[in-house]
Each structure stands twice: as C-alpha cells, then as structure tokens.
C-alpha cells in the first residue's frame, strides 16, 4: 500500500506540465552544470528530453512507430556527438544535413506509403527539407552557446506549443521538453554571465528531434504545414547582430525576443486552424 506522500509525488509526476516543463528544466540544469568541466554542457538537451520520454511515454521500440523513431534517433544523435567532437571534417555539416533529411523520410515512411505518389513525394521532400534545414542552421550555431540557447528554447517551445494546439499532446511534450531544457541551459549563462560549452551535443539532438516532431505533427495532427517555415526561421533569426559590449543576460533577452516572436507566430498560425488544445 502506498503512503500518501508517494501518491502525491506520483500524481505530481503524472501531470503533463511537470513532465514536459519542470522535470526537463531541472534535469537540464543539473546536467549542464555537471558536464561543464568536460565541455559537454550540451547534453542538457538530451538529458531533459529523455526525462520527459521516461515520464510521459517509454523507451520501447515495439512497434516502431514514428514517435518512437524520433526518440531513438534523438538518443542516437546524442551518442554520435562524442565521436564527432574528435572527428570534424569540413564536409561534416552537409553530411549531417543530408542525414537529417533522410532521417525525416525514415520516420514518416509508413505514413508516406499510404499516400498517393504526388503527395508522398511532396510530403517526403517537405519533411526532409525542414529537418535538414534545422540541422544545417543549428549546426552553424554550435560554437555560439548564447544564440544556440535562445534559438533552442524558442524552437522547442514553438514546436511543442504548436503541436499541442494541433492535437498531439505527446509531440507537444517532446517539443516543450526541448524548450524547457534549452531554457535551463540559457538561464545558467544569464545568471553566471559566462557562456557554457555548446557543440553538437546541444545542436544536433535538439534540431533533429524538433525537426522530426514538427514534421510528424503536420502529417498526423493538425499542425498546418505553413507553421514549419516560421519555425524554420528561428535559427536564422538567432544570427542577428548583437551589441558586443552588452552583458550576456541582455544579449540573451534580445535573442529570446526575436526567436520567441517566430515561435509565437507558428503557434498563432496553428491556433487559427486548430483552436484550443484538447485538454
């Protein structure tokens, strides 16, 4: 028999806001601090995401649904970043971009097979383009922790909230978990006024999971396709020039305002089509 405190804790952990907001935020805070000396603070993203998957879903791969493929690819991409720290040829960025696009097609393959040829090609190409685009542009931010932090937070929150409005709570939770984890990573930098190590351990899992989730939300829920280009503008918007002498918290605020505006735009477009989330 469970004692009341255990029941209360279980109820708390079953709450979607705790699962996709509080828990990934706290886990990412701890992971970013813990791995800072190893220059792997970027693992905060996958740590926060994994915590949400553990609470809201599971790590099983049978049957290998599109959502489970996203979890699998997210974890694999995080594992891949360690060898990528040692091996960094010039062609790696285009290769990761193509791999991101191919991953998107693999994730939605079963859905594409049920479409007519024209739709199959259109959706397949669109998904590959969106995921590849995010991987490419986020990879360009892997040495700019502040920009990557702001863009990651906006992309995660935007993708998550839009998916939630589009009637897919699980994909919404995936995105919100990324946003919360990136928010924790950004907050440490703002509070300490010093940048954290970034690298592909941050940018690759974040861009891949967000890209694949956005694409899947379009195909399986009510996320309108034209919300994706707005979300895709986030890493580009994070390239805006910043006052070099400004404190990090000020630079973070500026970047967050610009990138979150894009995220809000995508959420607004989804809300117009889908209405309120099905809570």
């Amino acid at each position: 028999m469970q004692i009341p405190r255990e029941i209360e804790l279980q109820e708390l952990l079953n709450h979607p806001a705790v699962q996709s907001g509080l828990v990934p935020f706290v886990v990412a805070l701890i992971a970013a601090e813990l791995f800072q000396r190893m220059r792997l603070s970027g693992v905060a993203i996958i740590a926060g995401f994994a915590a949400t998957v553990y609470l809201a879903s599971d790590f099983s791969i049978e049957p290998l649904t599109a959502a489970r493929k996203i979890v699998l690819l997210g974890l694999l991409s995080a594992g891949l970043t360690l060898p990528l720290m040692l091996f960094n040829p010039r062609w790696l960025r285009p290769l990761l971009t193509v791999a991101g696009g191919a991953a998107a097609v693999w994730v939605v393959l079963r859905i594409l097979h049920q479409q007519e040829m024209a739709h199959m090609l259109l959706w397949g190409a669109g998904c590959a383009l969106y995921a590849g685009w995010l991987v490419f542009w986020f990879d360009g931010l892997n040495d700019a922790s502040l920009r990557a932090g702001s863009a990651g937070m906006a992309l995660g929150l935007g993708s998550g909230a839009a998916a939630l409005f589009g009637a897919s709570a699980l994909l919404g939770q995936f995105g919100l978990a990324l946003g919360a984890a990136a928010g924790a990573y950004l907050l440490i930098q703002m509070l300490t006024n010093s940048p954290l190590p970034c690298g592909r351990s941050y940018t690759l899992p974040l861009s891949l999971i967000a890209g694949l989730s956005g694409c899947l939300a379009v195909l399986t829920a009510e996320l309108p396709w034209y919300a994706l280009p707005v979300l895709a503008a986030i890493p580009v918007a994070a390239k805006i020039p910043l006052p070099a002498k400004a404190a990090l918290w000020m630079q973070s605020m500026l970047l967050s305002v610009v990138t979150l505006a894009c995220a809000a735009g995508a959420v607004y477009l989804t809300w117009r089509i889908a209405g309120a989330p099905p809570l």
């Binding site: 079953n14 809201a56 879903s57 599971d58 099983s60 049978e62 049957p63 649904t65 599109a66 959502a67 079963r110 859905i111 049920q114 009637a167 897919s168 709570a169 699980l170 994909l171 899947l216 195909l219 399986t220 829920a221 009510e222 889908a274 209405g275 309120a276 099905p278």
Partner: protein, 189 residues
Amino acid sequence: MLKHNAIAILLAASLPLTAHAAESYTVDPMHTFPHFSISHLGFSTMQGRFDKTSGKVTLDRTAKTGSVEIAIETASVSTGFAKRDEHLKSPDFFNAAEFPTISYQSTALHFKGDALASVDGNLTMAGVTRPVTLTIDAFKCGANPMNKKDECGAAASAQIKRSDFGIKYGLPNVGDDVKLVFEIEAIKD
C-alpha cells in the same frame, strides 16, 4: 448404372445443403458499430464509436465452426466532439495516420446450443496484436423482414487494457481499461 447415378445426384442436390455447409456473410456497415467506453479522470465514462466497419463472417452452425474478420477504419472514430476526435486520431492514441485499420481476426468460435457464445481471436490496434475473446451477449439469425435477405446479428463485448496495445498516453489519469462493444449485422452472400 447410369440411371442409378443420376438418381443419386438428384437426391444429393435436393438435400438442404445449407444445414451442413458453412454460410458466408458480409458485414452490413449501416448496422455495424464498434463502440468503446473509457474512464475520464475517474469522473465520468466517455463513449466513442467507429463509423466505418467492413468484414466477413462465415458460420457453420451444424459443425459449430466459422470465422470472423473485421476491419475498422481508425480515422472514423467519433465521440461527438471534433477536437477530441482529432486527438484520438493522433499518435497519442489510435495513431490513425500510421495505422489506418484496426482489425479483428477470429481463431475459434464457441457455440452454446445453436447460438454463438464467444469468439476467440486477435485484435490488432496501433500496430500491436493481442488475443481478445469477444463474449456474445445477443445472437440472432433469420430473414430480414424488410428486404427478406438472410442475415445474422450479434452484440459482442470485451474488456481490454489499452496499454497492452502500446497506447499509454495520459495513464493513469485517463483510464487503462477499455470496454469494447460490437453491434454487428452481416448479410448472407
């Protein structure tokens, strides 16, 4: 000799074949509705149904054998509230885009006297197949008084756990136990 053979064939042809042969039926989608009910946060029991069902039934009531094959269009789920229906179609629940069909394939039919009592079979939902036994709560075969066609009807029910099919979203707040009720009519081919 030839005359005797001809008589034997004529006699055999005059026997009521239907009493011994398996009869084949096609599910009447107009009078077939799979329903489900599930607890919502423990406050109420929500009801839903699927509007598009097809399938084949064979029955040999003398040999007490047969088969049931049902295909349900996942995207036809309806709860009377469009937003919830969209959510039910999403990967959180039935995942209709990836798994457009829910199917049931019988493995054995059990009779009590002349009436069908239960059906053992496999239910495939969201890409997962699990054995499910349908209890037949009502069963009737006969001629339809409106169109004079022979048909059979049944009310079947089963209790499943959605988590067994990998549908875990919202557990334990949204109930795990799902009651399935199939109201089915099938017209003789």
